[in-house]
Each structure stands twice: as structure tokens, then as C-alpha cells.
């Protein structure tokens, strides 16, 4: 077919042989389905991102963004210890919340896959995603009712006589923020780990134990290495959104539970767009670095490649 086309006298006088051109058009055609995503990605992600980058190098004078290129916003951010401390605190909270979330989600997923009848697994998965049926705000607010001085925990402890006056330390501090973040992001980790464990070949696990490996060794040396991609995906789904969290620390963190997102909101509400853009971009850069690191962990060898 190619031969016919290339030798045809009706072929247009172009540089490329017509056959190659046709196959190139066909090749481009396979990307047609990508065009809507490209437009969406370009208009709603790349363009705003470009604006954020530009804003971060500009300044605000009397509520007007002045297009004078400067590194002042970045210099300010790194020269004030509060921001560096808040960034570290944000990383620390994100790390702690992610670790706890995974530590709770893994045994849950393990129990669900290994011990629950397949017909019942769907029911438990629905229970996991059930909180998504209510709004994020409502879910965070409900924790104020649980952790507050007149909340459920204090009432229970008072009723049991464990305490004789309400304890105030459950709410408005970093532990409250971590607890609420764990609650909010548990479904993401649980579903990801469940999907990973569901495909695990339990015969390998049994074989390891048949050969004398205690359960702990079988888990750490047989199961977890094969779940690496699932675990890394769970970390991405939990750690990265937490880095940009604003509402949970605002509502349950109090003055001691501030994260970097809260300071960025203050910049924007005070019309300091350029300062806010610089701080937001620094978080974005951190996320990109983490994604590059995580991406390496997600590399899976192609079994069919020589």
C-alpha cells in the first residue's frame, strides 16, 4: 500500500513521501483524544501557574500589582524565621499525619482483604467513603463538637469520673490538627492500599510461612516490597494535599496549630497577592521535588523487556 502511494504520479510534490505523511497524520490522530485534556490543562492549570510565577516576582503598592521584577518576596520569605519555622512545622505535621494514616490504613486494608468475605468487602469500602457524602467543612466542624470542652470526649471522661473538670488540651493545638487530618485522609490511604493488597498473591505469603518465616517477616520481606507502588501512591494522596491544608488547622488548630496555608490566606485576604504567590510557589516546588522522588519509587520494571 505504501509502495503504491509513493510511486503514484498523482502524489503531491512535497518533501515527504506521501506514505510517511499519511502515517504521520494517522500518528497525530491518535493524540486527538488528548486535545480536550490539553486545553483544560493549559487553560486552567498552566496559565494560572504561569501567572502565579509572574506574580511572585512582582510587588503590590496601594492594592495595585506593580510589574517590577524583583526577588523581594522570596528574600522576605527566607529572611523571616517565622516563615521558615512555619514551613518546617507544616512538613512535620504532614509527615506525622501521613505516617499515622498509613499505620491505621494498612492493618485495616490487610484485615479487609484477608479476613472479610469478598461479598462483604464492598460494604466496608462503602463505610470508608461514607464521610465523603457530607461536606468537608461539616466533617471538620464535627470534630470541634467531639474534642471541645463541652464535647463528647470531655463529657464521657467527666461521666466516668476520670476527670473532674473539662480538659482543654484535646482541641486547638497541633495534635488536634493531626488527628483531624488523619480522619480526613484515611479513606484515600485505605482505598489505595486495599487496591494494592487485593492483587497480592497470597500463595507467596503462605509459601514464606511454610518455609519458616514468622508472619512479621513474611509481611516485611514478601508483602510490603510488592506493595511498594501502592504505598507510595497512598503517601502521594495523603502527604501532598496535607501540605496545602488550610481549613483544618484554621478550625481545630487554634493559634498553636498554624500551618503555612494559613499565612498564605492572610496574604491573599490582605491583597498581598505577590507575597502569597511566592509562598504558594515555594510549596508547589516542594511538591514537585517530592513527586520526582516518589516517581522513582513508582518505576516498575517491564517484565516483557529484554
Amino acid at each position: 500500500m505504501d509502495q503504491d502511494l509513493t510511486t503514484s504520479s498523482a502524489a503531491p510534490p512535497v518533501d515527504l513521501p506521501a506514505g510517511r505523511r499519511t502515517s504521520r497524520v494517522a500518528g497525530l490522530g491518535q493524540y486527538a483524544g488528548f486535545i480536550p485534556a490539553l486545553i483544560l490543562y493549559g487553560v486552567f492549570f498552566l496559565v494560572p501557574l504561569g501567572l502565579i510565577v509572574a506574580y511572585s516576582f512582582w510587588t503590590v503598592v496601594d492594592y495595585n500589582v506593580v510589574h517590577d521584577w524583583t526577588l523581594d518576596n522570596y528574600h522576605y520569605f527566607f529572611s523571616v524565621p517565622t516563615y521558615v519555622r512555619t514551613m518546617w512545622a507544616t512538613l512535620w505535621v504532614s509527615f506525622a499525619a501521613t505516617a499515622i494514616t498509613l499505620l491505621i490504613a494498612f492493618p485495616f486494608a490487610y484485615w479487609l482483604v484477608r479476613y472479610v468475605r469478598r461479598s462483604l468487602q464492598g460494604f466496608f469500602l462503602i463505610l470508608v467513603v461514607l464521610p465523603f457524602w457530607t461536606s468537608y467543612l461539616l466533617r471538620v466542624y464535627s470534630w470541634i463538637n467531639i474534642l471541645g470542652e463541652k464535647g463528647a470526649i470531655n463529657r464521657f471522661l467527666l461521666w466516668t469520673g476520670v476527670i473532674d473538670k473539662p480538659a482543654s488540651f484535646f482541641l486547638y493545638d497541633r495534635p488536634a490538627v493531626i488527628l483531624v487530618l488523619v480522619y480526613l485522609y484515611f479513606p484515600f490511604a485505605a482505598l489505595t492500599l486495599y487496591a494494592s493488597l487485593e492483587r497480592f498473591d497470597w500463595n507467596q505469603f503462605k509459601a514464606a510461612m511454610d518455609l519458616g518465616a514468622p508472619p512479621r517477616t513474611a509481611i516485611t520481606r514478601i508483602m510490603i516490597p510488592q506493595m511498594k507502588a501502592g504505598i507510595v501512591t497512598a503517601v502521594i494522596f495523603v502527604f501532598i494535599p496535607i501540605l496545602g491544608e488550610y481549613l483544618a488547622p484554621q478550625l481545630v488548630g487554634g493559634a498553636r496549630g498554624v500551618m503555612i496555608g494559613n499565612l498564605i490566606v492572610n496574604f491573599f485576604s490582605g491583597a498581598q497577592y505577590t507575597r502569597g504567590a511566592a509562598a504558594a510557589l515555594l510549596i508547589a516546588v516542594l511538591i514537585v521535588i517530592l513527586l520526582v522522588i516518589f516517581r522513582k519509587s513508582l518505576d516498575v520494571k517491564d517484565p516483557y523487556r529484554a
Binding site: 496601594d62 517565622t82 519555622r85 492572610n266 485576604s269 491583597a271 498581598q272
Partner: protein, 367 residues
Amino acid sequence: MSVTEGRLSRADLLKVGGAGALALSLGARPALGALSRSEATTLNMLTWSDHYANDQLAAVAKATGLRGRPTLFSDNADAYLKIKQTGSQFDVVSADGLWVPKYVKDGLTEPFDLSELPASKQLYSIARQFPFWKSGSNYMAYPFSWSTVQIYYNPKYVKTKPTSWHAILDKKYAGKISLENIPTDMMAIAGRATGAKNPYAMTTAEISRAKEYLKGLKPNVLKLASQNNEVVRALADESAWIGITNLGTDDRVKDAGGPTVKAAYPKEGTVGFIDSESIVKASKHKDVWEKFINTMEQAPWIAKNFLTNGRPLFNERAYKLLVNQGHGDRARRLLYNKPQLALKMTIKGPAGDQQAYTDAFNEVFGA
């Protein structure tokens, strides 16, 4: 300024709502002839949630054919930038005190003849003469409500009335103060506490002193609330003993099932808001703005607004309605009959150096 909770019994609502509907139907009768011309006209309002009620908007739409569609904002700077960036997208914008002249100066809103609005005759005369809203023979905005920002304290825990901003720095209040997360206003309050001449236009040295004050306050701060109702909740569940917040908080705390809290006015003075409605200069519906505002601002609606939101407004006829309906005590307690006091506080406005204010606040309240 958003004040979202208030004490209002069902009977009160029916009583005032009924009176409102009656007055509206009578007051708007002359406008009904024009209904067919302006039917389906929507006025986009950039406002606070306590500036309207849904039943009020519905009644106004029915009576005038002008449908108010509110969009909410949190802070004046936020609204200012929205109006600046969206041009004719909005028709009505609400603004506090000295933000109003800034809108006009920057060509975003335009003054009008207040006397042409019949509803303006229901206002206290002082509200028709604020010097900072005068523009020749015109007025820059329609006066709506006002409130001081003061200290509310729970006498069960706070034995000595805090009559100074410095009294709340005492270590015995560690983690027991709740306040709204509005950096500019908190800096202005810190400015008043430290003797700044103009708390919304502080010098570098004054900003530095205000920042030191906030540093001293920080250990006592339980939470920086995103909404006024969070301050109310913290006072109601007694996790906070002190709140820095608007007039009427005592009622709202009671409504939330909380304890008695009392107001204290610091001797250094305080800040507060006088808010308003303005015409957006780029609006395509300027011709019907006056009719819309005139119908929205009728005394029965304003009386109802007071009962819902619990802070003084500038409509004198509404005060008289409240007195007649047996709410005089509450209205007087919340200074409704003393609009002149609104001029004694430092009126909210844009910061002289907004960046310096936000930077200082963030540097204190970061981790």
C-alpha cells in the same frame, strides 16, 4: 461586617416580618407601575451575609421586579479587589467606613444624592452627615449599620473587668482569648493599645510597637477565628474566657446556650465599623439602584435585621418600631439609640501600608 447569629423568637419574626410585608406592599405601591419595565432585572450585590435576608430579597423582587443576587466576601480588601477586577459584574457593593472614600477616589463607586432616596429620611440625621462620606452635595454611600469591636469577658473566670487592652496580656488568660482572623483590624487594635495616632496609617515605629503588643498577646490566643460565630462558640462552650468581637456578642453567646458574658470598653479606645451600600460605577443598572436600595432599607426590614443580627443600624424609624414592639431595652443596650458613638471609635479603613500590616501580623502568628 458579618454578624450572623442573634436572638429572635418565632413570634418576633412573624410580628416584624408581617409588619415588613405590609409596609413594603404599601411603600412599594407607586413603584409597581414600573414593574413591567424592570421585570427580571438582577442586581448583583457584593455584600456581607447580615446585610439582607432571603425573604427580604424575595419580597423586594416581588414588589419592584428587582432581584438582588448576593455574593459574599470576607474582608474589605477582598471586595475592593473583586470590584476592581470585575468591572460591571456587580451593581451594589458593601463597604466599611474609610474604604468608601477609597472606592470613590479610585473610580470604582460613585456618589449620589442621598436626599432623593425617600428611605434616607428614616435615617438618624447624623448618618446623613458623616464628613468622610460627603462628596460636594452628594453622598458616597447609603449608611447601614455600625459596631465597635470590644472585649467580651466571662465574669465566672475573669474577675476583674478588663478596661485596658493591656489587661488581656495577663498570663492567667493563656490560651483563653478568641478573636477574628482579620490582620488589618487586629493590627489597628494593637495600634490603639500602644498609642498609635492613626491606627490604620501607622508609621514603621508604631507598627513595630503594635507587633510587640501582639507578640505579648499571642500566648493568650486560643484561636484566630475565620468567622464571628466561631468566637461566639468558643465563649459559649467556655473554651475561651475572653473574646475580641462586635456588639451583641453577649446575646449570641446566650443564644448558643452559653454563659453570661459582659462587654468591656478599653480606655485606650477601640476600632469599629460603619458599613454601607454603594453604587458600582461600572454597573449597568445604575438607573434602578435607588429604587432597589430604597425598598431594601425600609424600617420594618431593618428592625427585623436588628433582631436577627443584634448590632445597631442607622435607621431611626426602625428603632422606634423596635421600641413599639417591646424590644427597646435590647436596642438601647446595643446602643441603637446612640449613633453618635459610632464617631468616637477609630473607623475601619484601608491600611496605609497594607503589606507592612499583613507581614507584621503573619510574623507574630506564624509557627
